[in-house]
């Protein structure tokens, strides 16, 4: 058991730091949940990709450095410590790409991944429906067979990034006559600008169009855009859900950097004693999450897969993120009301954490039933 990085890993870290020092925008970009900010963040992805820093853990043939999990964690630590911009392509990079690596064809990977790596194509997720949230398998949007492909119809909602994104991926019911709701689903990719797609942006709590409703009316999707076998979509999607909650959605580097900034804010405000415990908890929580992730990475490298343990992660970081930002806003006092600060933007973003990627109530059920072995019951 050790916490010492190899000289080669430290050299990788130093290279990342040097690049980020030279390239990180000195002034924060506008919020990525606005049209102007979305475009600025897309351009930043291209800048990262030009020097192969946008998807460091991907294979080199798709624009990555094939650097492995530990170096990805080091890159993320440096990235967030540098104060570099949020990642507008994250839905594609952390949800769709792992699915393509596991279930996609070589043709799909060659076609989809390189423009994802450069930010040329930004992806939105299309899971939830008005009547299918936590009970995702009850979804009703249809995929109907047609010559050379499928026709998608129905309604998706809470589709993150869809207001400005290019393409989307999600689950559709391709066989309405199966015995169980988890059967007869197909995982498809589609163009948000295709004929028959209507995107209606939804303002999140601060009004910014961070997600959207999608209305689909016989939208044609070619067979090439089915991932895995038709009818096997649930199994394909669950591998994505494991990734989302597990190692790659929220890197520890993000929270280490946020906690360090919070400690700086606390110092700048004269180290008020009534906030000391909460600031300490932010520092401790970031360290705990970092070390927990190093242990998970070691298990992963030993061949373990992302299982129900990822639910521990998801509850931890989502609640941690809110507590950290609440502490910051409380430290700011009346200045905490301003909506145009990084702390406020982070706070509003954090509030969604316990809801998306499987609500924390669902995660606690998974922990209780699959890690602790408690009997299933009514939700």
């Amino acid at each position: 058991m050790d916490l010492t990085h190899s000289p080669a890993d430290e050299a990788f870290r130093a290279e990342a730091r040097a690049w980020l020092d030279a390239h990180t925008p000195p002034v924060p970009l506008p919020s990525l949940e606005t049209e102007e900010g979305f475009a600025a963040h897309r351009a930043w992805e291209a800048e990262l990709a030009a020097d192969r820093w946008s998807v460091v853990n991907w294979p080199t043939e798709y624009g990555g450095r094939d650097c492995g999990l530990i170096r990805w964690l080091l890159f993320e630590e440096e990235y967030h410590a540098a104060g570099a911009p949020g990642r507008v392509g994250q839905n594609g990079v952390s949800l769709l790409a792992p699915t393509l690596f596991e279930h996609g064809t070589g043709e799909q990977r060659a076609r989809v991944l390189p423009p994802m790596a450069t930010g040329e194509v930004i992806w939105a997720q299309a899971w939830s429906e008005p009547e299918a949230g936590s009970d995702l398998a009850s979804l009703r949007s249809r995929a109907v067979r047609t010559a050379g492909g499928w026709l998608l119809s129905g309604q998706k909602t809470w589709s993150s990034r869809a207001a400005f994104a290019d393409r989307a991926f999600g689950l559709f019911r391709s066989d309405p006559d199966t015995p169980g709701p988890h059967q007869g689903l197909t995982y498809l990719m589609f163009d948000l600008r295709a004929q028959g797609v209507t995107v209606r942006p939804i303002g999140r709590l601060d009004g910014k169009p961070a997600f959207a409703e999608l209305f689909l009316d016989e939208v044609f999707v070619p067979d090439d855009d089915v991932i895995g076998e038709p009818g096997q979509g649930w199994r394909v999607a669950m591998s994505t859900a494991g990734n989302e909650r597990g190692l790659t959605l929220r890197s520890p580097g993000r929270f280490l950097a946020s906690a360090a900034r919070l400690a700086g804010l606390w110092q700048a405000r004269g180290r008020p004693q009534d906030s000391a415990d909460r600031v300490a908890d932010a520092l401790i929580g970031a360290r705990a999450y970092q070390l927990f992730t190093y242990a998970a990475a070691a298990r992963f490298l030993d061949g373990a897969s992302t299982g129900p343990e990822s639910s521990l992660n998801k509850v931890f970081w989502s609640e941690y993120d809110i507590a950290l930002h609440e502490t910051a806003l409380d430290l700011l006092g009346a200045d905490g009301e301003w909506a145009d600060t990084g702390w406020s933007e982070g706070y509003v973003f954090a509030l969604a954490g316990p809801i998306y990627a499987g609500t924390n109530e669902i995660q606690r059920d998974i922990i209780a039933e699959r890690l602790l072995g408690l009997p299933k019951g009514r939700r």
Partner: protein, 344 residues
């Protein structure tokens, strides 16, 4: 970089767990609580023979050289089984004696601590744990850590010299503790002077770090035991015709306990690797709070049976409370984290 226990470390934990499971440890805890230490001392000898105390003692004094990671592994198991006696204090005493400039006291006292022939207690605060049944009673008086400039508001008053003494047996019976297995005595004054001066203060700071690490590990073990026992209970106990563990209100409390304990674990082993004051303080407060929160959940989910001294759950419930305050309160540990020079 591989932040996982290796096969040997896992086997060490499993062997201690098996030994303590077979040893009727709860009965020894109850004997210990009523001042009958024979069964507890027999258990102590077996723990020592497994090498646990030697993990805090240099080879020169018949130990295995200080190995904080293995020590943490062992103390998780001691906590899981609620092993009675001055286990943390013996480790702290060993760390203190090892860190003195003068090797004399270490040469004299440490070999018997490594072998388990002797137990030790160490008083840096208001009490001497298990002082009546312990062989080596160490007491530190005066400043126990070098004062830091930032903590001194004005001209410092001249401090008395820090002294380490071998204290006499307690003159009065123990004062009752919330955890009956922790027998707390007022420190007896006087006794043989073993060492004095600044190096005693520095050695005391070392002892405190080791005590906090061991307490964090013990607390994590206490919390894991409470979670296990409560999961077993709610799977068996039925109400309204179904196991109470099928209710979401019950499941979610246990899920929260699991999360708290699983995020305390990496802090513990991270602290064992670095042994910095800040890392150890973070592990201590987090493990103790996780264990205490689990104790509250365990009590609630057991219902009234958990609120009885007779039911063995009480052995862990009361310890979770006591460990939270021992060797540094939550606020003291957090202050070390925000006040520390080094950040993660």
């Amino acid at each position: 970089m591989r932040f996982l226990l290796d096969a040997e470390q896992q086997a060490f934990a499993a062997s201690l767990d098996a030994m303590l499971t077979a040893a009727a440890t709860p009965a020894a805890v109850r004997d210990w609580s009523r001042g009958a230490p024979a069964s507890g001392r027999a258990l102590w000898r077996r723990v020592a023979e497994a090498g646990v105390f030697a993990l805090a003692i240099p080879e020169a004094y018949k130990g295995l050289d200080p190995r904080p990671v293995e020590l943490a592994v062992a103390f998780v198991e001691l906590g899981r089984h609620a092993v009675p006696g001055p286990v943390v204090e013996t480790v702290a005493a060993a760390a203190l004696l090892t860190a003195l400039d003068d090797p004399g006291p270490a040469e004299r006292l440490l070999p018997a601590l490594a072998s388990g022939d002797a137990t030790a207690t160490l008083t840096l605060g208001p009490y001497a744990l298990d002082a009546d049944t312990t062989d080596v009673r160490l007491t530190v008086s005066g400043p126990t850590a070098p004062a830091r400039p930032s903590e001194v508001p004005g001209p410092a008053a001249p401090a008395p010299p820090t002294e380490l003494r071998l204290a006499p047996a307690p003159g009065a019976p123990p004062r009752p503790c919330l955890d009956p297995a922790r027998r707390l005595f007022a420190p007896a004054p006087g006794g043989e002077l073993l060492a004095t001066g600044a190096h005693v203060a520095a050695a005391s700071a070392q002892a405190l770090t080791w005590a906090r690490l061991a307490t964090a590990a013990q607390a994590l073990g206490v919390g894991l035991a409470l979670l296990d026992r409560t999961v077993t209970h709610v799977r068996q106990r039925t109400q309204f015709g179904v196991p109470v563990g099928s209710f979401q209100a019950v499941k979610h409390r246990l899920a929260d306990a699991k999360i708290a304990l699983e995020f305390a674990r990496p802090l513990l082993f991270g602290a064992a690797l670095t042994m910095t004051e800040q890392d150890v303080a973070a592990a201590k407060v987090t493990a103790c709070e996780a264990a205490y929160a689990t104790a509250r959940t365990a009590l609630q989910l057991h219902g009234a049976i958990g609120y009885t001294a007779e039911y063995d759950l009480s052995l862990w419930l009361t310890k979770a409370r006591a460990l939270r305050g021992a060797w540094g309160s939550p606020a003291q540990c957090r202050a070390l984290v925000v006040g520390g020079d080094r950040r993660w």
